[in-house]
């Protein structure tokens, strides 16, 4: 008998349909995946099931009994415990206070964390605890309530693989005890490895429930995108070779970024060079210094030691402005860091053009429109909701963050996990775009938390461990196994 049965659940915000009509059935003792492209309605469904928002239509039954989940605390009481991508911990309270706030036994949480072999100081303020650990605490807190159903919303996104392993162990354990897990992820490998069944959502409807192990990645993607879209996307990625007029990269084919013995924060002396026309990958577990590396290159943080130079000219950025002047531009993982949510697509894309006093005068509208239009075209941005960027889907928002740099010109693109939380179709477009930019002479530094992306995207991959470079692999050879070994510092240093 099914534990949770949701039928034709829908949610709309004014004219915007977040979830058309979705059904979902989770059995007792199964790990069930919820799949779908961005905007398919996965998060909306989970929020409805856990009382964060209220459904407009449909029914939800728990063990055959209709239930009304009116709030998160009500959900917890009837045995539905969610863990969201953004941990539900209050930053200014200590970990212990956070747990008391939810009326969960502190010792039970401590016990769970010990079982997962995660070490946490409970007197620490939650805001000072690194994100991956916060997620583990959130998970332990959810489990301490001993729920019938754990709902894990993209919990493994940007989680280092060692912690992700522990999450999988928890899921396994939960299944053994006859409890259930609803698991949302963009990583299909995890789905195939972990999940008994999967329900796929597309455009706010459920389009099928399948057994992932049997049907394989390729077909799951087809389900997610719809048969026509899937081929169309693949086609677009292969065929679209329009040259990028916007990129200033072409003129600077010989550009090189040279980094020597760079030290900052947890980065303990890193040297590498990046050639024009090359995509260089950086693979690392969480917290190995990659944040600092990108922050320094983008001018968001000052280096504590070492040298950087661009085309032979020494660079010591004190502000992102200095880095941008030298052609180094950043595409951050968190789109909220890069976008002006209330402004239009056009203003967002044009924004970096006006970042210096000399450009504060009158705008040249024709020039602006031309550059913005060519960037939009290059990225195939869906501009139907262009009046305010916050109304765009996540994938389109990420495209806007890249389009800004196409419109203003750059030499080196620093992509920090640019595909985080983005659907498969858009991911492919972004891979293709990065390749085209490189072919046009741009240099690209690429970090991703998804190892499978490296062979698809990169010419070379560096692995970072403990703030040092521990390996260098050729792009094609950068399969997950060899990357993982190098990322854990298991390979002797390769000459770099």
């Amino acid at each position: 008998m099914s534990l949770l049965e949701a039928r034709n659940v829908g949610k709309r915000y004014g004219p915007v349909v977040a979830l058309e009509s979705a059904s979902l059935s989770v059995d007792a003792g199964e790990v069930h995946a919820l799949l779908g492209a961005n905007g398919a309605g996965k998060s909306t469904l989970v929020k409805i099931l856990t009382g964060v928002i209220q459904r407009d239509g449909g029914t939800v039954e728990l063990r055959g009994e209709p239930v009304r989940v009116s709030s998160p605390s009500r959900a917890a009481r009837i045995g539905l415990a969610p863990v969201f991508q953004d941990p539900a911990l209050v930053p200014d309270l200590t970990v212990a206070q956070n747990i008391r706030l939810t009326a969960v036994d502190v010792d039970a949480v401590r016990q769970r964390l010990r079982e997962m072999d995660v070490d946490v100081d409970f007197t620490e303020q939650a805001g000072d605890v690194p994100l991956p650990l916060l997620r583990m605490i959130d998970l332990a807190r959810a489990m301490a309530r001993d729920p019938q159903l754990l709902l894990l919303d993209e919990i493994t996104a940007a989680l280092p693989s060692d912690l992700a392993e522990r999450v999988f162990a928890v899921m396994e354990d939960w299944r053994r005890r006859g409890r259930s897990v609803l698991f949302i992820t963009h990583r299909l490998a995890e789905v195939i490895a972990m999940c008994d069944r999967a329900t796929v959502l597309r455009d706010g409807r459920d389009v099928g429930t399948l057994v992932p192990r049997e049907i394989g990645e390729r077909q799951i993607v087809e389900y997610m995108l719809g048969p026509e879209a899937a081929t169309a996307e693949a086609h677009a990625a292969e065929v679209d070779e329009t040259p990028l007029k916007g990129a200033a990269a072409a003129e600077a084919a010989a550009t090189t970024l040279e980094v020597t013995d760079l030290r900052v924060g947890s980065l303990a002396g890193v040297s590498f060079s990046l050639r024009a026309g090359e995509i260089l990958g950086v693979a690392a577990l969480e917290g190995q210094g990659q944040n600092d590396l990108f922050a320094v290159l983008a001018g968001d943080r000052r280096a504590e030691g070492g040298e950087m130079s661009v085309t032979g000219k020494s660079l010591r950025p004190r502000h992102p402005y200095d880095a941008i002047r030298s052609g180094l531009v950043l595409v951050p993982a968190d789109r909220l860091l890069a976008l002006l949510p209330q402004r239009s697509v056009r203003e967002n894309i044009a924004a970096p053009r006006y970042n210096r006093l000399g450009r504060w005068g009158p705008i040249n509208p024709r020039e602006e429109r031309r550059r913005v239009a060519s960037a939009i075209e290059a990225l195939q941005i869906d501009t139907r909701a262009q009046r305010q960027v916050r109304r765009l889907s996540g994938g389109n928002q990420q495209k806007v963050t890249i389009a800004r740099w196409l419109a203003s010109g750059f030499q080196t693109l620093l992509c920090f996990d640019p595909t985080r939380g983005i659907d498969v179709g858009t991911k492919r477009q972004i891979y293709a775009l990065l390749r085209r930019l490189a072919d046009d002479g741009a240099a690209i530094l690429f970090f991703s938390s998804e190892l499978s992306e490296f062979p698809l995207v990169c010419d070379r991959v560096l692995t970072l461990f403990g703030g040092r470079i521990t390996g260098e692999l050729a792009g094609e050879g950068a399969d997950e196994a060899s990357l993982l070994r190098a990322m854990h510092g298991l390979v002797e240093e390769v000459a770099s």
């Binding site: 209050v90 200014d92 690194p130 951050p332």
Partner: protein, 332 residues
């Protein structure tokens, strides 16, 4: 990205540093207060219990106003209407208490406190229902309460029974223990301490710190925010009553002073304007600091208006240094 990195760095920091970071500001304010107190008692020729009394009288309404503002700021809001609510309670009490017996005056004061808390709850409810930013709603309420105060009493006047005035200006046991100070401590002990570490208090902080996380943790966000404004209203009511007890009259414009100074005392007392950080102990001390600065200046023979200029400048400079300190911390 840099915040994540800062988080990692903070984790390995030893405990004393963390304690200093959490409580350093409050301790600093008390040290500042102590220094000012020590300096202050050297100025008048025969400094004595009378000076202590008058300091308590001057600082009492501001201390309550700072508490009112702090509670609201901690919950993630800001209350620009604190000052005019103080005026309203002030004129109401002064207008009607004047011919009352002590007992009736006290009962009426209690009634006003309930009304003031209700007024705060009303503001909070408006904010929650309308989803308009706190600053706009409380700005609007500033007009409303000030208008009502003006309607009730056009010009300063009214009064209170002598025995009631004693509450603000008298002393308990010894002339060195001003009754106002004791009432302040009592109010703190009754209305705040039981909350601070209990679930309602945690809820208050959680709502100010991260509203979404608080909601997901099962906190009644709307309820908590309204509660914060109600508690703020209660403290504002106490400030209004304290103002009548210490000044002896009602003045529809008296509250203006408290709009800025309550915020200043809260910030100086370690309450971060982003919410979720701080307590009431710091702001109480800060209210005394702010008052003492002016007292010292006037004792030193500085003109009243110059004292205002210097006091304002000092507040700005202190807050600027605070801002700089936060920047430095963010950078390292």
């Amino acid at each position: 990205m840099s915040t994540a990195a800062a988080g990692v760095a903070a984790r390995v920091r030893p405990n004393p540093a963390r304690l200093a970071r959490r409580h350093g500001w409050t301790v600093g304010v008390y040290v500042l207060l102590l220094v000012l107190l020590l300096y202050w008692q050297t100025i008048p020729a025969n400094w004595g219990s009378f000076d202590v009394q008058s300091l308590a009288i001057d600082a009492l309404p501001l201390a309550f106003a700072a508490m009112a503002q702090s509670v609201v700021i901690i919950s993630g809001g800001i209350d620009l209407s604190v000052g005019s609510l103080i005026s309203l309670i002030n004129v109401l009490s002064a207008k009607y208490m004047i011919d009352m017996s002590f007992r009736n005056a006290l009962l009426f004061g209690l009634l006003l406190l309930v009304g003031s808390a209700a007024a705060g709850a009303f503001t909070g409810t408006l904010i929650v229902l309308s989803r308009v930013p706190d600053i706009v709603v409380t700005l609007a309420m500033l007009f409303v309460w000030a208008g009502l105060a003006l309607e009730i009493l056009q010009i300063p006047g009214g009064g209170a029974p002598q025995s009631y005035l004693q509450l603000g200006t008298g002393h308990w046991w010894s002339p060195w223990i001003p009754s106002g100070l004791m009432i302040l401590l009592l109010a703190f002990a009754i209305f705040w301490l039981p909350l601070r570490w209990a679930r309602p208090g945690l809820a208050l902080y959680s709502v100010g710190s991260n509203r979404n996380a608080a909601y997901l943790s099962g906190v009644g966000v709307a309820r908590t925010r309204i509660f914060a404004y109600a508690l703020g209203g209660l403290f504002a009511g106490l400030a209004g009553l304290a103002l009548s007890a210490t000044s002896g009259i009602g003045d529809p414009n008296a509250g203006q002073y408290y709009t800025l100074n309550s915020v200043a005392a809260a910030v100086l007392g370690g309450v971060a304007l982003v919410g979720g950080v701080g307590g009431l102990i710091g702001p109480i001390a800060a209210a005394f600091v702010v008052t003492l600065v002016k007292t010292i200046l006037i004792l030193k023979g500085v003109d009243q208006n110059w004292a205002q200029v210097i006091q304002g400048t000092l507040i700005i400079v202190v807050v600027m240094i605070g801002g700089l300190a936060i920047r430095q911390r963010a950078r390292t």
